[in-house]
Structure formats: structure tokens, C-alpha cells
Amino acid sequence: MRQNSLQQRLGLNTLRFFVLLVLLFLGIILWEVFSKGSGVINSGFLFDYPRKGMTLGGIFPTIMGTIFVTLVTTIFAIPMGIATAIYLSEYANDNTVNRLIRASIRNLAGVPSIIYGLFGVAVFVQGMGLGSSVLSSGLTLGLLTLPYIITTTEEALKNVPHSYREGALALGATKWEAIWTNVLPSAVSGIVTGSILGLSRAAGETAPILFTGVAFYLRYLPASVSDSFMAMPYHLYILSTQHHAIEEVRPLAYGTALVLLSLVFVLNIIAFIIRYRYRNFNKARI
């Protein structure tokens, strides 16, 4: 008996230790990037072009490029994802075609990002002749985030009580009218949360844009969707592995990592806050 309780204490503390270790990994990464990157951040770093072979200056065009390409991803992936989720949650019954659609989405979520890059090169850049451009990269990232947006949106729609739909239908509304007036407004915060998280993922991706539109260095911002662009994740990759003076530009690499990580974390925290308030709102409603 005595031995059993000793075993229990040892076992549970090991589990506790494992959780702490996981948190420690996160802490170490954040500490490394924030402590060494924060010294570089000033308005010049954020709003200047790289100068002198990227050994001086800022990362302004990479920030704008990332924002621009994420915007294209948004325009493509969000309507597409929401439409798919509405179909699956509200219209689709359980037949072979719909099961095939669901299976495809689940499998798309597991396809490696570099494969999306290959697809983007073969289909958007060469097949459709869009060239190495913001549009090609934005569409490639859109396909990558689509499964994520569909899954989270469907989850949000499923959480809307059935009585909401039935109430509208009983008053003579068509299915679409019930969705538009009763289901979507209740699910909107869940949809927004999922979309933000999907886009934060797209903004940090490198492999899919590697061959579909990102450029090493440009002296101008992209003027249209058919121009190529600079992007933060790729810039970090260049500064840390491909640059001719890697040690010299290390502080700039830390700064880039810090800005990229901050962007992603701010998006995640916004999503978290929306989800948290929505949960309380839902509790109050029921």
C-alpha cells in the first residue's frame, strides 16, 4: 500500500514535469527571440527598406508583402471556406458524395506545405500562367488554409442550437433565409476566430511561397497582384541561411523573427479573446 502511494506521487509528478517541459520550450523560444530582437526594433527597422545588401536598414517591404499576400489569401479562402462549411453543416446529408467531400478536406489538412508549393508552381505559376506573383502565392496559401477555415467554421455552425433554425423555418422562411438571419449571426464570432487563426498560419508559412512569388530583394512594393513580393518569413530564412554575411546580419534576423512572431501572436490573442467572450455570451444566452 505504502509503495503504491509512493508510485502515485512519482508518476503524477513526472506528468507535471512533462507539462512544465512543454511550457519551457515555448518560454525558451519566446525569450530567445524577444530578448535578442527587441534591441533592433525601432521605427527605422519597421518603415525602411533594406540597405547595403540587406546588412542595414529595415524590413518595411517584407511586412507590406506579407500583408498584401495574406489579403489575397483572405479574399479567396474565407468566402470559399465559409460556403463549404455552410454546405456541409446545413445542406449536406450523409451520402457518398458528401462523405467524399469530408474525407478530402480531412486529407487536405494533412498534406505537407511544400506539396502545396509544388501544386502552386505547376498549376498557378505555369499552368494558368499567373507567373511568380502575389496572386499565385495568395491562392496557394489560400488552398493551404482552406481545410482549417472549413473545419472551424463548421464547428461554429454546429454549435448554433437547432431551435434557432426551426424557429425561422416555422415562420415560413426558406433554408437560406433561416441561415442568413438566424444561424450566421450566432456563429459569426466562431467563424471570425477560425478565420483569424487560419490567416495567422498563412502569414507565417514559407514553403508554399518559395517558388510561387516571393523575391529575395525588391526595390519597390508590389503594385498589383501580378508582381512578385518580399515576405517576412522568407526574409528571415534568407538572413539566417543564404546571406553573404550571416553573422553580421544576425541582429536583423532576430528583429525579423520578433516582428513575425508578434504578428502571429497578436492574431492568436485576438482570436482567443473573441472566443473567450463568445463562450461567456453563449453561457448567458442558455
Binding site: 463549404t84 541561411t241 502571429v264
Partner: protein
């Protein structure tokens, strides 16, 4: 009246079209990889591709296209990542699902999701500036950019996947299982090890397989942090170059339409098939742990 019903039907078909796109994309990816990948075998024999380890497509005169070394590299790095991530991830998931209070769980879950949100290029950067040099110092190597470095980083990256899916499986074990064990006088630890974890077994395996899928497909981290040496790895202290890294390195500089270009799609097709098998396996296993009580 008529118009409203027409709109309703039109929207249904419009949204069905959006949903069907996902099927087309999946088929499109597979078709595109196969279509381009097969062209490589006009000049490369299947035996050379799969069973030789020398990859040197740009060699003058006698190019070689053996993927065995990069296949072994992918395998080695993934194996190392799983050796680290599986005990940690399943342990942490067990804690979150069965031991932690509800309040602790509500705080820890989003924090772990934050770990999943870190872009892979940032993880690779950490590998270059921190983990790699640390490995070099501890083991007395001249260069820390090795398979071990990649394995550690991939372990960190696959942890959120393993924890989230395994926690879900462990939580779904019915309370009655635990109550039966407690009523026989077993303590919490014995109940966890002898009853709860075995009951969640297939869900935990699904979690591990999904984490593995993430590690196999990861590109930027291994590209930046494992040294990219094109040779058969002899162990964790060798630099390696995985399948994903090979595509990332070579696709940018290869002329369009050459055997070399197509061979990269063949590597991609193999990678795609591996990820497909991983997904189907995980899905099949994950479906089994849902107890109907």
C-alpha cells in the same frame, strides 16, 4: 415566393460547388504530382530511384537519382522527433485530461496552441542560433546542424498535435471505467496506467501518427537546421537532407521540363502518398475510441 425558393436552391448549388472544390483540389494535387512525377521515369529506372542512395541530378554526364539517402534522412529525423515527443506529449495530454483542474486546463490549452502557432521558419531559426550550437558544445561536434537538431525541433513542433488529439482521446474514456477501478481500491495512478490509458489506446496511437505526419512533412525547419548533407546518414550526429528539404532546395534552380524537374515531383508524389497513408491510418484509429455507453 418563386424567387425566394429559386435563391434558396441556387445558393445550395453554389455552396455545393465550393465544397466540391476541395475534392477537385485533392485530386488535382495527386494528379499533378503523378502526371509530372511519372515523366521522370522516362529516363530514370524505378530501381535506381527507390534503391540507390546517390542523388546528384545536376552531375555533368552521369546524373544519378537515388532517393534512399533522403528517405533514410526523413525517417531518422522523424524517428528521433517521436522518441522525444511521444512520452512528453502523451504524458502532458494525460495530465491535462485526467489530473489537472478545469481551471489549469483552461489556461494551459491556449498556451499549447500558441506553441503550434509559431511559424516553422522561426523554429528553424532557433535551431540555427540556439539548439544547434548547444548540441555542438555538449557533444563536442564542429557543427551542430545535424539530424539530432532537426529531431529536437520537430519534436517541439509535433507536440501540440500529439497533445491535443491524445487529450481528446483520454478525456473521452467514460467515467464509469474509472469509477469501477476506484471501487476496487485502485489509486489514481494505477487507474490511469491500467485502465484509462489502455482504454484510450487507439486514440493515442492516432495522435502519435498525426504528430509523425507533421514531422515528415515539415520543410523549413529541417531545411534550415539539419545541415543538408546529401549522404546516407550513419546516426543522429550526421547532417542530413530530407525529402522536403531536397524539393525546397532544388525546385528554385532547376530548369522547367527537365528530368531533374520531374524527379522532384516524383519525390513530392511519394511524400504525398506517405501523408495520405498517415492520415487515413490516424482517422481509422481515431474513430475507434469513441465509446458508446
Amino acid at each position: 415566393m418563386q424567387k425566394r425558393h429559386f435563391i434558396d436552391r441556387a445558393i445550395k448549388w453554389l455552396f455545393f460547388g465550393a465544397a466540391a472544390t476541395s475534392v477537385l483540389v485533392l485530386l488535382g494535387i495527386f494528379g499533378m504530382l503523378l502526371f509530372n512525377g511519372v515523366k521522370a521515369f522516362a529516363h530514370i529506372s524505378l530501381a535506381e530511384f527507390f534503391f540507390t542512395s546517390n542523388w546528384n541530378p545536376s552531375a555533368y554526364g552521369e546524373p544519378s537519382y537515388g532517393i534512399l539517402a533522403m528517405l533514410a534522412s526523413t525517417f531518422l529525423v522523424t524517428l528521433g522527433a517521436m522518441l522525444l515527443a511521444v512520452p512528453l506529449g502523451v504524458g502532458a495530454a494525460t495530465y491535462l485530461a485526467q489530473v489537472a483542474t478545469e481551471k489549469t486546463r483552461l489556461i494551459l490549452k491556449p498556451v499549447i496552441e500558441l506553441l503550434a502557432a509559431i511559424p516553422s521558419v522561426v523554429v528553424g531559426f532557433i535551431g540555427i542560433v540556439m539548439v544547434g550550437p548547444f548540441i555542438a558544445r555538449v557533444f563536442g561536434l564542429s557543427n551542430g546542424l545535424t539530424a539530432l537538431n532537426g529531431a529536437i525541433l520537430l519534436a517541439v513542433m509535433s507536440l501540440p498535435t500529439i497533445i491535443t488529439v491524445a487529450e481528446d482521446a483520454i478525456r473521452s474514456v467514460p467515467n464509469s471505467f474509472k469509477e469501477a477501478s476506484y471501487s476496487l481500491g485502485a489509486n489514481q495512478w494505477t487507474t490511469l496506467i491500467k485502465v484509462v490509458l489502455p482504454a484510450a489506446y487507439s486514440g493515442i496511437i492516432a495522435a502519435i501518427i498525426l504528430g509523425m505526419g507533421r514531422a515528415i512533412g515539415e520543410t523549413m525547419t529541417v531545411l534550415m537546421a539539419t545541415g543538408n548533407a546529401l549522404a546516407m546518414p550513419r546516426g543522429f550526429f550526421d547532417p542530413v537532407r530530407t525529402m522536403t528539404a531536397t524539393i525546397a532546395i532544388e525546385l528554385g534552380e532547376v530548369p522547367y521540363g527537365t528530368t531533374h524537374y520531374y524527379s522532384l515531383f516524383a519525390v513530392g508524389a511519394l511524400l504525398f502518398l506517405i501523408s495520405l497513408v498517415v492520415n487515413l491510418l490516424a482517422e481509422n484509429l481515431a474513430g475507434r475510441y469513441r465509446y458508446k455507453l
